[in-house]
Amino acid sequence: MKRHNRFLALGLTAAVAAGSLAGCGGGSGGSGGGDSSAPLTVAIWDGGQQAGLQEILNAFTESTGIKTQLQVIEWNSYWTLLEAGASGGDMPDVFWMHSNEAVKYMSNGILLDITDKVAASEVLELDKFPEDLKSMYQWEGKTYALPKDMDTIAIWYNKTLFDEAGIPYPDGSWTWDEFYEIAQKLTKEDGSVYGFAANPSNEQDTWMNIVYTMGGCVINDEGKSGFDDPKTIAAMEFVDKMVHTVMPPASTMSETGTDVLFGSGKVAMISQGSWMVAGFKDNEYIAANADVARLPKDATTGRSISLYNGLGWAASAGTKNPEGAYKLIEWFATKDMQQKQAELGVTMAAYEGVSDAWVNNTDKFNLTPYLEAMDDVVFRPATKSTLAWWNPMVEELKKPWNGEEDMATACANITAIMNEKIAEE
């Protein structure tokens, strides 16, 4: 009898052990009740935009009588939750879509098809939105989301550290070689200040801009990896040179994060996207000491290329209130609301010509470089299943960053990984 009990106990212990893990896998079935009068649930991942978007939502409720409920879910959990919701049939009504994930959601019929409604709309002016951004949220001729915003990249520099080193503030006419010289001058021997900082995961906001500016590419015209292009390799070797001469050790950057290092005066320059402005505005040290300059140019072509990306507003195909959900998406894409979003300092607008208002949302920084960057932009590289190669690419770059591999080898490995994953799509 005793023996018997023990085996039962063993079985149950193991069951509890395993179950607490396996439990994560099961999606919850059945969606919450609700009818068309229930508030529309709206999900986003950026807490910095919450206050401004709430105002736009309030205006929507005032104008249409449709109530909304805004929730912020941090980036990583956002996608886990959205996917579990999509599998289990219980999603927010209206939510943000990102170019990394859009194809997966569109091709599986998770998103509400708004093609006809968009075509019939009297208030939308779709020709005012960038073509790449619109087509990112279209799949097989159908539209699933409307552009929400647009972001570009610029350099943030610490004025105090520039003054101390006796270097004039950048006016945006610099080349990457000049940038490197300045970074060298700013880097102190004792390791108390470094000129620049970037992690392997600062792709869109840092090293990919250098790749495109120097004539390379991440995805080439044939839709394959651009990491075997000599220009890409040369650009990545330039990045590698900066990592090992003007940046803090890779371990420090990974532990602390480049924005924190910049915000504590440990690093004199970082390259960051316009989506960081809201956060930097609230950081006392950065607000007092930093300003913005345009990304450097390539010495031979004289071009300064910024990556750009934009989110889309999408709705769930299973929403109880498709009419209301579409009205809200349309509301966000109207000229007035795009302008309001810019004025409130939420983000730059996707709508052409209204982002000037965004530049004036703060007097702490000169944000014009972000607007100027729009003159020469490349859309953030994407394929059908971007994430499948994006993560391994970043993973591989950790090796040269930590001095475990030279950059040329890493580029060769990335080419192989990317082409393999792209072939599987």
Binding site: T13, A18, G19, S20, A22, C24, P200, S251, S254, V394
Partner: protein
């Protein structure tokens, strides 16, 4: 168990009520744990599609891939390293604290509360605080010791730094279990031992430890399982750029990464089935070994 002989009415009554009382727990266990286990095992034979649609049966292909995957075996090694440090230390320290706090003295409940506090705090909050304590640039640890050690980004030591956080957070819980066990030991034994001239240390090893062994055994079993399932600390403390991540990520971390980040639930399930197997084997060995050292009265 299943067969009941013709017993008295009382025996039958006890049988019925016994099952009635454990029924809610059994139901929860079956719905939340046992069924998902079989679903997970089932899923490990598939190449899963997006949103659980279009799964393709691929037999043991995931398992073949897993046995050749160096990352998985590195994660197994990391997990064992973590458990081997966390379990013995958390038990030994908690045991000593429990013995010290198992007597009448000023402010004993205040001390007990303090040691139990980490158990009440959210693991994510604990991890964030420790992440900054360990930070090589601005961390309190390096500041106090005047060192510049990369506690959480040096591949050689990061997994042990994580284990320190694990020990710190679990000590209070283990201590409470030990305290409960200590209350069960009759004082007579200690009195008799004192009269015979046994020192405190003698009493600890010859009376406390043997009589507490069932509790120690229970704590060991549950902590080993808990240690092998470590995830949240690593997930919160280690950034994805961290050079030590490869030598720190646990089996569950890899499962999460595959299932939810890279969206390959089939392979993720395969990894977690490996963990179930490992936990089963380790637990069976502990069950066998207990005969040598656990004393039931």
């Amino acid at each position: 168990m299943g067969t009941i002989k013709k017993g008295t009415t009382r025996e039958r009554n006890e049988f019925v009520w016994g099952w009635a009382f454990i029924f809610p727990t059994m139901l929860g266990l079956i719905v939340l744990n046992i069924i998902p286990i079989f679903q997970t095992i089932y899923q490990s034979f598939f190449k899963t599609g997006d949103f659980g649609r279009g799964n393709i049966f691929i037999g043991i292909e995931n398992y073949v891939k897993m046995f050749g995957d160096a990352e998985v075996w590195q994660a197994v090694l990391n997990t064992f390293k973590y458990a081997i440090v966390e379990v013995p230390f958390s038990i030994a320290i908690a045991l000593v604290l429990a013995v010290l706090l198992n007597r009448k003295m000023m402010g004993v409940s205040a001390y007990r509360t303090i040691f139990f506090l980490p158990m009440v705090a959210a693991p994510a909050a604990i991890a964030m605080v420790w992440r900054w304590l360990f930070n090589s640039e601005f961390g309190l640890l390096n500041h106090i010791f005047g060192t510049s050690i990369n506690w959480i980004s040096d591949p050689a030591i990061a997994v042990f730094a994580i284990a320190v956080i694990g020990i710190w957070s679990i000590i209070g819980y283990n201590m409470v279990l030990f305290l409960a066990g200590l209350q069960e030991i009759p004082r007579d034994y200690y009195e008799a031992a004192s009269i015979d001239g046994a020192t405190g240390i003698n009493q600890f090893f010859n009376i406390t430890v043997p009589l507490l062994s069932p509790t120690i055994f229970f704590v060991t079993i549950t902590r080993v399982i808990g240690g092998l399932q470590v995830f949240d600390l690593i997930f919160m403390v280690m950034d994805k750029n961290n050079p030590a991540l490869y030598k720190t990520q646990s089996i569950v971390y890899l499962f999460y990464q595959n299932s939810f980040v890279e969206n390959n639930k089939g392979y993720g399930s395969t990894i977690v089935v490996l963990l179930i197997a490992i936990i089963m084997v380790v637990t069976v060995f502990q069950m066998i070994a207990q005969k040598k050292w656990v004393y039931y009265n």
